[in-house]
Amino acid sequence: MSTDENVWSSTKAEWIKFRSVRSSIMGVLVFIVLTLGLGALITVAVRSHWHETSPVNRLTFDPVSTSLAGTIFAQFAVGVIGVLLISSEYSSGSIRTTLAAVPSRIRLASSKLIVLTASILVISEIVCFIAFMMGQAIFSGVVPTDSLASGPVLRSVMLAGIYLTLLAVFGFALGLILRQSAACISVFTSLLLVLPIIVLFLPQSWQNTITKYEPSALGRAMMSTTAPAQLFGAWTALLVLAIYVAVTLSAGVFLLHRRDA
């Protein structure tokens, strides 16, 4: 074992930092509560009103994405976790202490990324699978259910966790670029919520082209078992989102490397 510092030691340090502040713990709790709580609320509501659901709606009903509806809210929680992982270092000034301990900015970014990706991926996958199974249990007997034995169902639940993880990384990348929590959260929310609303004002033919590229539409595509006509297929959607995140992250790491701390 060499005494040289490596990504492993700075990653352990970032792990200590991540779990020793309330904001990340609270962020994770909010994320879990939103995904499971809202998932439960929505599935219970669907079950209790199933008898009055129209035949058309019954036909297009997707037990998978409905049980994962909580993720629509939870995506903001994971985004904020990603943003704060770096923006809080700038707001508190602790980035200077951090960089004095780990002067390689590439290594610092990698360590933060490893901690963020690993923790959010594990939590997201667990939470999404629980939300799915909880939803099916609530539906069972009244509303049609799906099983993880089906390939597309397994894929959707798995990709839901990956979607949330990618959004957390996207938040982190925004944090590297903008450095300020408020600015990052505004941009993040705008891209997920406001952008689709703006697109609605565009001509229909434009909408058909643009909508599927919206991050939230990519999420819907990744989480649905049947690819809706206007959206990308699940794997293509994953690829497009991954490209967004990779480009933003590269810009962020480049700026971290170049700018004064």
Binding site: S10, K12, I16, K17, G93, L99, A100, A101, P103, D260
Partner: protein, 320 residues
Amino acid sequence: MGATLTSVLTTLMLKIDHLSKRYNDTLAVDDLDFDVKPGVVTGFLGPNGSGKSTTMRVILGLDHPTKGRATINGKKYAEIKSPLREVGALLDAKAVHPGRSARNHLRALAVSNKIPLARVDEVLEFAGIASVAHKKVGGFSLGMSQRLGIAGALLGDPGVLLFDEPVNGLDPEGIRWIREFFRSLAQEGRTVFVSSHLMSEMAVSADQIIVIGRGRFITQGSVDELTTTAQGTVFVRSSDPSGLAALIAHDDGVVLQNTESGLTIGALTSDQIGTLAHSAGITIFELTPQRASLEDVFMNLTAESVEYGSARPEMMHREH
């Protein structure tokens, strides 16, 4: 160590090599070039905004230099494998996440540089904040934060220590503690570099002083050297003040004050003034050299840096 002590000490050095740093239109540091040697406390003195913190930030690799470089033991900061084991720094005591406890803050620092965790408790104890180690840093007073920063700087038992305005916020007991602490670090052969805008603080805590103003090097030397080489003034009472004043002006002296009681003269020694007066037949009633205080020296030096934008050659007193 023993026989190799000298060679170890000469390599344990902080070197500022023709360093310049420009932020947009502001040249914060302008061609600074000096060495900070081990075994003594070196003060880094300049008015607020003179580029001390910028220099410190460049040393730590936080800001990229526009020109030149800063090296520690021959290496740029970013090239040091375990920086906390070679350099301890306290730049801004409040640069800590307010929601993290002091111990967790130090633990993360220790782990990142493979420093044993037992060391965390040692430095907490040493800095006198062991009893509040589990408390959130956000609730710390500035003095407690300074102590936490000192604990962080000592974590890796480094040979080079940098402190930016460390006495700010400390109570008198803390100031006294930190002065003795700097001295003991230097006595152990470490390089100790302490910035301050307070002349009086440097006069008691530093052995060597480097003075900068407006980002430029002004002078360097021991406290004694600075006060003796800096031109003191001479107070003269004589039988013909106006005649003497004319002679002095003719001989490159400067009449700083001409009052009823007498002349205050700069740039000439009392010997030179006495000789001048004697040759003109002027009777001297009083001839008193007034030694500049370190405060005066500092004010003069930094005032000149503002006035001329550079140091006067005779003020340059560098050691090599």
